[in-house]
């Protein structure tokens, strides 16, 4: 296998995971706002939100495994779960943000599977940390990603992040929008 295979795979899965995670956050925000009411009912959007998990989960794991196997990235197994311990000195912050994002989304995903056995308020607050995870994912990608300073990718990524931010702020300030 070529030395660059894992490096290409890490970039491809990272870009795609960011796109699908954006779709997941959008569908989650649409449940509490009415931004997608023109498209479908809340029940259908809820199913879409649940459906995005099996889409982004393998991509995130493929991204991490590729980075573990890639000789250029020099990511160790401990860097996947413990943030800010990687020896990659100039970029330990964005890589640490990726680790934080991975930890948070894993907790959010597992607690979503255990929702029926959990306190609803606790589950809600844990689930809200996914906003923090998405911000961490974005800055992880923007600061350490190979392609995020390319004009095409940067335009798509920043516009997606701006859209999700506007919807999130709208949700916090005004609550559910009128249908």
């Amino acid at each position: 296998m070529n030395d660059l295979t894992f490096w290409f795979l890490a970039r491809i899965t990272g870009l795609t995971a960011f796109a699908v995670l954006s779709l997941s956050v959008l569908s989650g925000e649409a449940l509490r706002t009415s931004v997608l009411d023109f498209l479908a009912s809340n029940r259908a959007i809820r199913r879409l939100h649940d459906f995005t998990t099996p889409l982004w989960l393998p991509l995130v794991f493929a991204h991490i495994i590729s980075l573990l196997l890639d000789k250029t990235a020099q990511i160790r197994p401990i860097d996947v779960v413990v943030p800010f311990v990687n020896p990659y000195e100039p970029y330990f912050l964005p890589i640490g943000l990726g680790t934080i994002a991975f930890d948070i989304i894993m907790v959010v995903t597992v607690t979503s599977w255990l929702r029926r056995r959990m306190n609803n308020t606790l589950w809600t607050w844990i689930h809200r940390t996914s906003y923090i995870a998405f911000v961490a994912v974005f800055f992880h990608a923007a600061q350490s990603g190979t392609d995020f300073d390319a004009p095409l990718v940067s335009a798509i990524a920043w516009s997606t992040a701006a859209t999700l931010t506007i919807i999130g702020v709208t949700r916090i300030v005004w609550g559910r929008l009128p249908a």
Binding site: D3, R11, I12, T16, L23, F51, Y91, S144, D147
Partner: protein
């Protein structure tokens, strides 16, 4: 829109993102400002033009070709008898030293002295 249609839409967006990311990453293997530089970044992006002079790989030795001796001027007495009346004494033209060209030969190639030039043409 029904839920299944949204799922199909989400799967389609994922597939398109995967295809787009793959084509973009493969089309842009090198980003000079990227934080992680793979080995491909050490290679030039564009093929270099061939160098005008090939670089020798074998040991060389330089041989200076032998040149024929310069023509000697006959003594004034001999010239006087051959040309008739005694000419006014003139200085013989001085030959300017010219730079001898050097030939570079590969190892194992022998250089031979150039044969003398003989004029065979007569008109």
């Amino acid at each position: 829109m029904p839920a299944w249609a949204l799922r199909v839409l989400a799967a389609g967006i994922t597939a398109l993102s995967l295809l787009g990311s793959t084509s973009y990453a493969l089309a842009h293997p090198k980003n000079p400002s990227a934080p992680l530089q793979p080995p491909v970044a050490e290679q030039p992006a564009l093929p270099r033009e061939p160098s005008p002079t090939p670089v020798p790989t074998l040991p060389f030795r330089t041989v200076t070709p032998t040149t024929p001796p310069p023509p000697t001027t006959p003594p004034p007495s001999a010239r006087a008898t051959a040309a008739g009346p005694t000419p006014s004494p003139t200085r013989a033209p001085t030959l300017r030293p010219t730079q001898v060209p050097q030939i570079t030969l590969q190892a194992g190639v022998r250089a031979t002295a150039l044969p003398k030039i003989t004029i065979t043409h007569s008109s």
